[in-house]
Each structure stands twice: as C-alpha cells, then as structure tokens.
C-alpha cells in the first residue's frame, strides 16, 4: 500500500487523513466511518458495554469524499456507510469484502422488500446490509409556496419541471441537488421515460427538460439547501428526504415561523439506500461483523431510526418504532407510493461522462 501513500501526496488538494486510531493489541476495537448526525450515540456506548469492543467513530458528509478515501485504500476503517449507487461501483473496484453471514445471525430481521431493491447494487446482498433508506423528493417552505402557488400541498413533479410553475417560485428561491445521478433520473421519470435509461438520446431529453427550468434555479448544490430552507432563504429545494427533515427540525427549533414540508411526488421518486459494508483491507474484520450484527438487532436499529427520523431496512424493528416515524408517509411511504419509487444502476465510465457533461451544460448554462 505504499503506492497509495505516494498517491496521497500527489493529490494533496484533498484532505486525506488516516482518521482511525491505532489500538493496542489486547484491546478490541472497531473503526466506524459514518455520515455525520446519523446515529444515536448511546448505541455505540451500549455496544461497547455488551461486547467490550471500543468504537472509534468518525464521520463524513459526502459520498465522494468517502469514495476517494476508499479507492486510495489503506483507510483503516472497519465499517463504512456508502450510498447504494456508490457502493455498486466500489464493489466492482474491489473495495469491499464479502460478509461472513454465519457471523450475522440477526440478518434474519432484515426487510425482504428493501433487500430486493438493494440487490440491484449489491447482487445477493453479499457485501452490505441496509442501515437507512430514503427518497429524493421536494422540500419546501409551506407559507412561501402558498403565497406563490395558492396551495401548500405539493404532490407532483410538475411544480418543478413545468417552466411556468417553477418560474412563479424563482423569486423566492429554488435550489436543486448538484448531482446528475439524482436529477437526470428524476427528469426522465417525469418525462415518462425509464429513469434508469442511459442512452444518449434520453440523456439529451433530460438535459432539455432541465435546461428549460434552468432560469428559475438559483443554485445547484447538494448540501446548502438544508440551511437555506431552514432559514427561510428559499422556498423550494429538490433534495434528499433526510436533509429536508433536518431542515424541518432546524426551522422548528429556531421558532422563526418557518415551516418546512417534504413531498414524495405522485409520479414517483428515486430511492436511496445507505449500506453498511466492510472494506477489504479492514484491520478488525471480526469486530466489524459483531458491530453489523448488533446494528441489526430490532431494538437497536429502532432506536437509531427514532433518533434520526429515517426509515430502516429492518422489518423486525418496525413494531418498536415511534408513531411519528412509522406513521409519517414521508418517512415510510404507503404501499402505493412505494411501488412508484424507483432505483437506478450505476453508469459505466462512458455513461458517467455523458451524464456529467449534460449536467455541467445545464448547471452553467454553457
């Protein structure tokens, strides 16, 4: 792995770092790298109490950062949490090791419906287990949207993709994810095409649809909309469910009269899955399995969901969830809505370039 050390020097623009601590031989340790604000910390303490394994917990805030570290190798992490689309490529690149299911008896608690979908990224669910999942939908400021559109109920992508509609919201501010892998499928889905299509023709069509609404978009960014929504700076954002919930909670805490809502449009939305996996070069494989098995305990994952307000892929935990979580259709959509949710497969290199290029044109107006 000395090669990767040299490599890090080369690409010094990026903040690489070996975050995981070194532990003494006797002490049992597991190095976990998860999204920020994504767990009830008492779960970690409980795990240590039960197993005697110390958790070194580190957080990231973008899949790209995680991926870059994983591809460079030698991270020292034992458990990481990439999103499904990223996971798929990382598996192909040889980043992860297969899970030893004999050490994961709690896997029987998992929800077959979710497993059926994550199978697309991780065939046979050999490399990962689901931690949380959500959707890519519309977050909006209720009062401002009502003022502009006359209703505070958004239920269709028409609001976003019909230029005459979105123009009404342009003045109060519209943000969109700066992520072609999210926005192009969303546009294709609205156009009635296969959201997973990657043909040049379809991508062009999606590009045209997005370019038509480009003048009304104030900014493309994948995280700033949380603050912008919460502060009341904008009235609508296409974003990830969890982020919008975070904005909703922040706005409620601030008590400035800003009320944020999240909608899964009736045409359907993309589903995303955050998967827990073990890197091929993980130093503590046994401990990592113990950690995954612990996370799959119904009472543990229920506690996590109750804390972060996300749906999880654990069927057995559902009876233990708070009503505010299991009863919220934005978190656990009903059957009919769930059927409309779609997933996408990762593009190959050529397709990726095609999508990125189309996206850059949309974003920069070039």
């Amino acid at each position: 792995m000395t090669r990767s050390t040299l490599f890090m020097t080369a690409v010094s623009v990026l903040a690489f770092g070996l975050a995981a601590g070194q532990a003494s031989a006797q002490e049992r340790v597991v190095n976990v790298y998860n999204w920020s604000d994504y767990i009830d910390e008492s779960i970690l303490a409980d795990f240590t109490k039960e197993t005697g394994i110390k958790v070194v917990y580190d957080v990231f805030d973008s899949n790209e950062i995680l991926e870059t570290k994983l591809l460079a190798g030698g991270t020292g992490y034992d458990v990481v949490v990439p999103t499904g689309t990223f996971l798929a490529r990382q598996i192909q690149a040889g980043v992860f090791q297969k899970l030893d299911k004999s050490k994961l008896p709690n896997i029987s608690n998992m929800w077959d419906k979710i497993e059926a979908r994550t199978d697309k990224y991780d065939p046979g669910n050999q490399y990962s287990i689901n931690y949380m999942w959500g959707t890519t939908g519309i977050g909006y400021n209720k009062a401002k949207v009502k003022e502009a559109l006359g209703t505070d109920q958004i239920d269709s992508w028409d609001v976003v993709f019909k230029p005459e509609n979105i123009a009404k919201l342009a003045d109060c501010g519209v943000y969109m994810l700066d992520a072609p892998a999210e926005m192009i499928p969303a546009a294709l889905n609205w156009l009635g095409k296969n959201p997973d299509s990657k043909t040049a023709e379809d991508i062009e069509a999606a590009q045209a649809a997005l370019e038509a609404i480009r003048p009304s978009i104030r900014k493309f960014h994948s995280s700033e909309y949380i603050n912008a929504l919460a502060n009341g700076d904008i009235c609508l954002a296409v974003g990830w469910s969890g982020d919008v919930f975070q904005a909703r909670d922040r706005a409620a805490e601030a008590k400035q009269g800003v009320e944020i809502a999240y909608s899964i449009p009736k045409e359907g939305a993309q589903m995303w899955f955050d998967q827990m996996a073990i890197p091929a070069d993980a130093p503590h494989v046994a401990e990592a399995h113990e950690f995954l098995n612990y996370i799959m305990k119904p009472e543990v994952i229920a506690k996590a969901s109750n804390y972060v307000f996300y749906a999880n892929g654990n069927k057995a935990s559902q009876k233990l969830l708070d009503q505010a979580v299991i009863g919220d259709p934005a978190v656990y959509p009903d059957e009919a809505t769930t059927d409309k949710l779609f997933t996408t497969t990762p593009p190959d290199n050529k397709e990726q370039r095609l999508m990125t290029r189309a996206w850059t044109r949309v974003v920069t107006g070039q």
């Binding site: 090669r3 700076d233 920069t364």
Partner: protein, 300 residues
Amino acid sequence: MQKLLSAIASRLVIIVPYAWLLIFFLIPFLIVFKISLSTSAISMPPYTPAFEGIGTWLESARKFTVDNYVWITEDALYAKAYLSSVIIAAVSTVLTLLLGFPLAYGMARAPQSIRPTLLMLVILPFWTSFLIRVYAWIGILKPEGLLNQFLLWTGVISEPLQILNTHTAIFIGIVYSYLPFMVLPIYSTLEKMDYSLIEAAQDLGCPPITAFWKITLPLAIPGILAGCLLVFIPAVGEFVIPDLLGGSRTLMIGKTLWSEFFNNRDWPLASAVAIILLLLLVVPIVLFQNAQARAQEAGK
C-alpha cells in the same frame, strides 16, 4: 579534514531547497502526470495501468495514452472553464490591487509607532478559519443579509440586491480573502522605500501626484507583481469561494476539476486538467521571475 567537512556542509545546505522541491513538487507532479496518461477504470486505484513496481514499469508505460489531453482540447467546456477562471482571477486581482495598494501605501506612510498595529489588523483575519470567513459572507450578502438590510434601512435601495450567487459575490469573496496577500508584499516594498526619493523628486519640480507616478509606483512594482501573483495564482484554481458564494452558472476550473475527480471518479482526466492548470500558472511565474531578475539587475 575540516575543510572537507565544511565543503560537504555547504553542499548539504544547497541540497535542502532542491530536496524540498523534489519531494514536495517534482515527485507529486510526476505522479499526477503519470496518472493523467492513464485510463479511468473501476478498480483500486480507479485507473489503469496502476504502477506495479519498477520491473513492470516499461510494460505499463506502453499502455499510456494522451486521450485525456485530447479530450480536454476537444471539448470546448474545458477551454471555457480555463478562460473564465483566468478572467475571474484577473478581475479579482485588479480589484484587490486597487483596494490593496492604497491600504499598503497608507500603512507604509503611517507613523512608525502604529505600523505594527496596522500590520496586525491586516493579518488578524487569518486567525479564524478561511471557511468560516467565507461562510460569514453568505450571511452578509444574502437577500435578507446584513448588507441588504443596511442599504434598505438607509433608503439607498428599495428592494434587496441579489448579490449572493453572482460573480459580484465571487469577486467580493476573493478580494476579501486574498487582500492580505496583496497588501503585505506591497507594504514591504513601500516601507523599505527611501522617502527622500519623493522629496528629491519634489525638489526637482514634481508635484506630489507626479512624484507618485514617476517614483513611488515604479519602485513598488516588485511588490505589486508579487502581490498580484499571490492573488492570481490561487484565485485561478479557487474552489471554495465560487462554490459557496458564486452562482451555479460560474464555470471555474477548480470546480470542473472537483467534479471530474469526485463526481466522475475520473482521476486521469482530473490529473490532466490539473497538469494543464499548472502549466497555465507556470507562465506568469516565469514572467515574474524574469521581471524579478531584471529588477535585481536594476535593483538597489
């Protein structure tokens, strides 16, 4: 023996800067250059050929390709990104100079006793994180931000100005962030300048303004050049400021590089973009060094 030792010691002293350059510039440069000749792949690391050791060097060298460079020249997007980065950086540099020069001049002409305080004030912002300072500008520039509230209150404007997410915000951000890099070198040349030169010019019939153009400004040129380069070069590759303050329409090479590297996972192409950027920046540095050498020739 003593002589030999001191000869070796003096050689070692010369080696240090070269070793530094070799380890922290040349080797990383060669690695990036090598990656730029590779092909992107789904693997670890995500390109091929990966360097497998000295033995297979020749074999992997045969797989090198200039496709990435061809791609960059074929797609007008990159040229546009480079060009727009250079323009944004150049405009910002000029604005920084226009603001920085009077500041440096005022400092250099201030009473000796308060100069350290003024210097301190210029450096003070560095004590907080760069990121936080740029974030603070979001709060100032946004439609409901401090600036708009103030302007509304004074009645200068009746509707909030849309500054955030525009080129103007990028200029403000770059000028603000890089101002000290402009002020400090200019200040140091002006401070070293013998004030009797101005008196001599006046004595020979120059009104103060003419003396400024004929004496102060020409003598401050090394500082101005250094300051401009210190602002221009990082501004060309700037990523954080356009990302946070600029609108999505702003096409800058730093952002293009970021998206090639992170979004497309195309390390080879990102490396090629970086190599070209570096070459683009080497030109002004070489020009500057020439000017420096000439100034040295003319020097004090």
